[in-house]
């Protein structure tokens, strides 16, 4: 393996575009904090949540960010764990993106708590039987490990150790996403969840969503900072994204086929796949169509798959499809009524037996978008003050011996 000759350099970050981006992100974060103030002052009654749909839009966007965070680390893992040296120059920014996305996601998750002021309680009282408690430990550990990994990659004297901690970070992120998926997988009473496949499904989703975000971020930042981005690395990531989209489709198919086979799950499957209104629409049109099949077509079409715009469009669609997928899983899974008396027609003042309605409130959307803004802001500021981005990702730099086909 040749010595790493990549030159990393902070971006200029001086133009009006840079500061207006920071300004807009700041406005979005302030809007999120204002939404939180309202949700805490008046209570969650101002949100779209109810006693039946207890996790709403903030959870969709927060879990998207958390899942994407572990996926964004993949680029670094591929280089240090699997020895694909052409991804090496992107390792630093990959680790930073992972940390930033996780921070944004956790911000949303924590601020949507009924008592966010009791964060100290969440950090000091642990019920080790709770997968949620384990996730708190996994998230905190992820920060520590990935930041250490980043430091070892950036500090020349620590470089020799970066492979080991890279391995650890990779294993940790697999466990972390298993934990995130198991938040749903362990819910025995909900017909939409309660399945071991949630863990691998979430891991596949993290690969796809994280890489999609990463591709867009790299393309935009290289264009904005006038640094060369060669086709070689872009096409490598394109191929990888295609594989990940297919993996998500595969696990989604297995999830639904298994449920369809069991008569007891006929209800939830009919609801998601056939007559669930918005959830059926989001599943087929947005998640499967816009978010999976069209991106696959774009990526592997000889023309659009070779253009940066085409790849970015596909990545953007994967993100939209991913958010739709989490919306269907999280909110669709709650909207479908719990089966207290299977086979019976049930009714009550608490909406037993009825499909629960949920409409996102603007406060929840503001909070969720604020988390995305926070993640982007961390990246935008970090690349200005830390040497994270290589000065060039041109084909010659990445792999002098390779000719793009």
């Amino acid at each position: 393996m040749a010595a790493d000759t990549t030159v990393y350099k902070e971006i200029e970050g001086k133009g009006g575009d840079y500061f207006s981006l920071i300004g807009w992100l700041g406005v979005m974060i302030l809007a999120a904090l204002y939404a939180v103030y309202n949700m805490e002052h008046h209570g969650h009654v101002v949100t779209g949540m109810t006693n039946a749909v207890v996790w709403g839009t903030p959870h969709v966007l927060a879990i998207f960010l958390i899942v994407a965070a572990s996926g964004a680390l993949n680029v670094a893992s591929i280089s240090s764990v699997f020895g694909r040296t052409h991804y090496k120059p992107l390792s630093r920014i990959s680790a930073l993106t992972a940390v930033a996305l996780l921070a944004g996601g956790l911000m949303v998750l924590v601020l949507d708590l009924g008592r966010p002021d009791r964060l100290i309680v969440a950090m000091t009282y642990y019920n080790f039987k709770s997968i949620f408690a384990w996730n708190i430990i996994l998230y905190n550990g992820f920060f520590v490990i990935v930041l250490a990994y980043l430091w070892m990659m950036m500090e020349r004297r620590m470089n020799p150790h970066s492979k080991k901690i890279g391995m650890m970070a990779f294993l940790w992120r697999l466990i972390l996403t298993t934990g995130t998926g198991s938040i749903f997988g362990f819910l025995v009473a909900r017909p939409g969840y309660d399945a071991a496949i949630m863990a691998p499904l979430f891991i596949a989703m993290s690969f796809a969503f994280g890489l999609a975000f990463f591709i867009i971020m790299i393309s935009v930042s290289y264009k904005a900072s006038d640094r060369p981005l060669g086709d070689f690395i872009l096409f490598k990531m394109r191929n990888l994204l295609g594989v990940f989209i297919a993996a998500v489709l595969y696990f989604t198919a297995v999830q639904h086929l298994t449920n369809l086979y069991a008569a007891e799950h006929a209800g939830i499957e009919a609801f998601i796949l056939w007559d669930g209104g918005i959830y059926t629409f989001l599943f087929w049109v947005v998640q499967i169509g816009l978010g999976s099949l069209i991106p696959l077509a774009i990526l592997f079409n000889p023309a659009s798959g070779r253009s940066c715009q085409g790849i970015m469009t596909a990545a953007g669609l994967v993100i939209i499809g991913g958010i739709a997928q989490l919306y269907v899983i999280i909110i669709g899974g709650q909207a479908f009524p719990l089966q207290l008396f299977p086979g019976m027609e049930v009714s009550s003042s608490f909406f037993d037996g009825a499909v629960h309605s949920y409409a996102p409130s603007h406060w929840e959307v503001m909070l969720g978008l604020g988390g995305i803004a926070a993640a982007i802001l961390i990246i935008v500021i970090a690349v200005k003050y830390l040497p994270l981005l290589p000065t060039s990702l041109s084909d010659a730099k990445i792999d002098p011996h390779h000719k793009v086909k």
Binding site: D117, I120, T124, Y125, Y126
Partner: protein, 161 residues
């Protein structure tokens, strides 16, 4: 794990006591934050512990016992927030237009001074209702309370003989 928050609250208290100590040792000057002046107990003569012990440790007593009461089902012990309400709740124009006796103004007096923020009253009303604590068996009329206190003293003497 619980000790972490305990240490935190002890630290806060330590600073608070320091502040009180400093406030007492140097006579308050014009413009200083006025010293807390909590209302006398509405009922009863003597608290469950001496005043100085209560000032330092009331939250420890309450916190310790809240866990025992709620989680283990041990009831009727010495300390009880409802008993605090029973004796110390006062009418204040700040709460419900001064119509009900509530504990909040009593607590607020020192907590404001020591910059301690508690959220007991996010869930507990702190409002006095008949039968809330052990003293509630006594009529709330002050004169009768005094008469009974005298009687109680007398009965107590009788028991000693």
């Amino acid at each position: 794990m619980r000790s972490a928050s305990r240490i935190l609250s002890l630290t806060v208290l330590g600073f608070a006591l320091l502040a009180i100590g400093l406030g007492i040792s140097s006579p308050a000057q014009a413009g200083d934050v006025p010293l807390p002046n909590p209302a006398k107990a509405f009922k009863g003569e003597q608290c469950v512990e001496p005043n100085d012990v209560m000032r330092r440790n009331h939250f420890e007593f309450l916190k310790h016992q809240r866990d025992e009461t709620l989680r283990e089902g041990i009831r009727g012990q010495k300390y009880s927030l409802n008993d605090c309400v029973d004796c110390h709740a006062v009418k204040s124009p700040d709460v419900a237009g001064g119509k009900v006796r509530t504990l909040k103004p009593f607590c607020k007096e020192c907590h404001d001074y020591a910059a301690v923020s508690i959220d007991c009253f996010a869930c507990h009303t702190g409002a006095a209702v008949p039968g809330i604590g052990k003293q509630s068996a006594l009529p709330s009329n002050h004169d009768v309370t005094n008469a009974i206190a005298a009687l109680e003293k007398h009965l107590g003497k009788g028991a000693d003989q």
